[in-house]
């Protein structure tokens, strides 16, 4: 094989593209701009950490199945861990959103980063809904019979049936976690590629 032939390979071209956009020192940096010096910056990583705990506790619940938590003390405790990590997840994500909004974090070519964040937010809400209707208790009975009206009114109810426990559970533990993880990964990688948004120009100085 000649050099040009190797260079034209899909693998080579993909690798060079990724290396160009995200070299190792950008993916795992050891410095950050000095302006990253506020507690508001911890809520992104806090959200990510909460997501990891949510998934971890969810995996434990999956090991013994969806009825385990009604029958076992440990199962109920793991369910509590799952619930509170979800509360922490949404708490952190929304404080992160407020912070990013007031920083105008979409500036400097970071529109896609902002958008992946919003889509991840929406995906998280849908994941939460499918979780709530999978509880196999009164709460899930009520939430599903109510939510169906909103979804049916859009036509979506013909395909996404919140009263169908099997379907909802599979969306909750397979389809949506994969989507949430992919979206989160994309969002985090975008931050690595573009860097943290610089401060607004000091208008006092510019004037």
């Amino acid at each position: 094989m000649s050099i040009t032939e190797i260079e034209r390979q899909w693998t080579t071209r993909l690798r060079k593209r990724v290396e160009g956009k995200l070299p190792p020192e950008k993916l795992l940096p050891d410095t950050q701009p000095a302006y990253v010096s506020s507690w508001i910056y911890v809520f992104g990583v806090a959200t990510l950490a909460a997501l990891i705990v949510v998934i971890g506790t969810g995996v434990i619940l999956a090991i013994r199945g969806p009825l385990w938590w009604h029958q076992s003390f440990i199962g109920h405790f793991v369910n509590s861990l799952h619930l509170w990590s979800v509360e922490i997840f949404f708490f952190s994500m929304i404080v992160h959103l407020w912070g990013k909004f007031f920083m105008g974090a979409w500036r400097g070519g970071r529109t896609f980063t902002w958008m992946t964040g919003v889509v991840t937010f929406i995906a998280s809400i849908v994941t939460g809904l499918t979780g709530y209707v999978s509880q196999t208790n009164f709460d899930s009975q009520w939430i599903s019979t109510q939510a169906k009206d909103g979804i049916n009114a859009t036509g979506g109810g013909a395909f996404f049936n919140v009263l169908n426990f099997g379907q909802m559970l599979m969306w909750h533990i397979v389809i949506l976690p994969i989507a949430a993880v992919l979206l989160t990964a994309l969002h985090v990688l975008m931050v690595r590629v573009k860097g943290v948004v610089p401060p607004y120009e000091d208008e006092a100085k510019v004037a």
């Binding site: 949404f90 919003v118 049916n152």
Partner: protein, 315 residues
């Protein structure tokens, strides 16, 4: 060659300042440990709610009259499910978003016939019960207009329904087999057999609770339980949890619209509010490209708090 004008809400200034050491892996690890510990503390202190599921059995035993009345509504077509429309049946046009009837356009994909699915088929699955088989034969061999006549007669008399000696008592004179059907269905419900009949529609295994849940949701009993827990639509229910637990506070804006006019009295509330929320979500998504909206951070100057160290160093 002119340089493109700098747009302060779109472009970011080039950063020429200093950098500090940053341990991203350590930060991530610390975050996971702290969040895990916080989760543990919250779970140990507060636990999580688990209100037991309602069954058709528990409902019909707690309130047999409400069960019998709901069964009658399924039979005479006045229940929520019977008159719902898409995706369950063609009984109604469904909600409208302006000229759009989205549910109707998509069509009936989860067909439910409340007379057949909630009343007749479950009764037909019962073993020989004295009086039931003749009643069912009478029903199935009658014309639709005869059936309607019986049901109308029973409905009128059922306003004075009572529960006596474990039986539904209605003083109906011209209702054919309907009194037996309603009473026997109530007994079937109280025994737990109706729960089973409603869900095993498609074989031995099922994970689809559409039918029993729709039947339950048509009752007064279910709504009353929810009302006690502040879970109904007009109680901001969407964001609430049973007991005193925090719920889904992030749904506040979605449930807000149901509390105010014109939505709180509109038959199209669900689709209107969905449309509204889609619009607001689109606005949130498109903040970076919406002038005015994207200028709010710069105008409100909250950023001066966040980057105060940077500004004091560079002044």
């Amino acid at each position: 060659m002119s340089k493109k004008a700098f747009r302060p809400d779109v472009d970011a200034p080039e950063y020429k300042g200093g950098y500090s050491p940053y341990d991203i892996i350590k930060e991530g690890t610390i975050a996971i440990v702290i969040v895990a510990m916080l989760t543990l503390i919250l779970a140990v202190f507060f636990g999580s709610p688990d209100e037991k599921a309602i069954t058709v059995k528990s409902w019909s035993n707690a309130d047999p009259i409400d069960f019998a009345q709901t069964a009658l509504e399924e039979l005479n077509g006045t229940s929520g499910t019977a008159g719902y429309g898409a995706p369950y049946n063609h009984a109604a046009v469904g909600q409208q978003l302006g000229p759009l009837t989205l549910g109707k356009w998509v069509g009936v994909h989860i067909p439910i016939n409340t007379v057949k699915d909630f009343i007749v088929s479950p009764l037909q699955s019962q073993p020989a019960i004295p009086g039931l088989q003749p009643a069912l034969s009478q029903w199935t061999s009658a014309s639709a207009s005869t059936q309607n006549g019986w049901v109308a007669d029973y409905t009128k008399a059922a306003t004075k329904m009572t529960w006596s000696n474990g039986q539904v008592v209605v003083n109906a004179t011209n209702s054919g087999p309907v009194p037996v059907m309603i009473n026997d269905l109530t007994q079937m419900a109280r025994s737990g057999a109706l729960d089973q009949a409603l869900i095993t529609g498609s074989g031995y295994y099922t994970t689809d609770y559409t039918k029993p849940l729709l039947f339950l949701a048509d009752s007064e009993y279910f709504g009353t339980l929810a009302d006690k827990q502040h879970l109904t639509g007009s109680q901001w229910g969407m964001m609430n949890e049973t007991g005193q637990y925090p719920g889904q506070a992030w749904l506040w804006l979605y449930t807000f619209w149901y509390q105010i006019p014109p939505f709180n009295t509109s038959a199209n509330a669900d689709v209107l509010i969905w449309g509204m929320m889609m619009l607001l979500t689109a606005l949130l998504l498109l903040v970076p490209v919406i002038p005015g909206l994207r200028a709010i951070p710069r105008k409100t100057k909250v950023y001066r708090l966040i980057w105060r160290e940077h500004y004091s160093n560079h002044e």
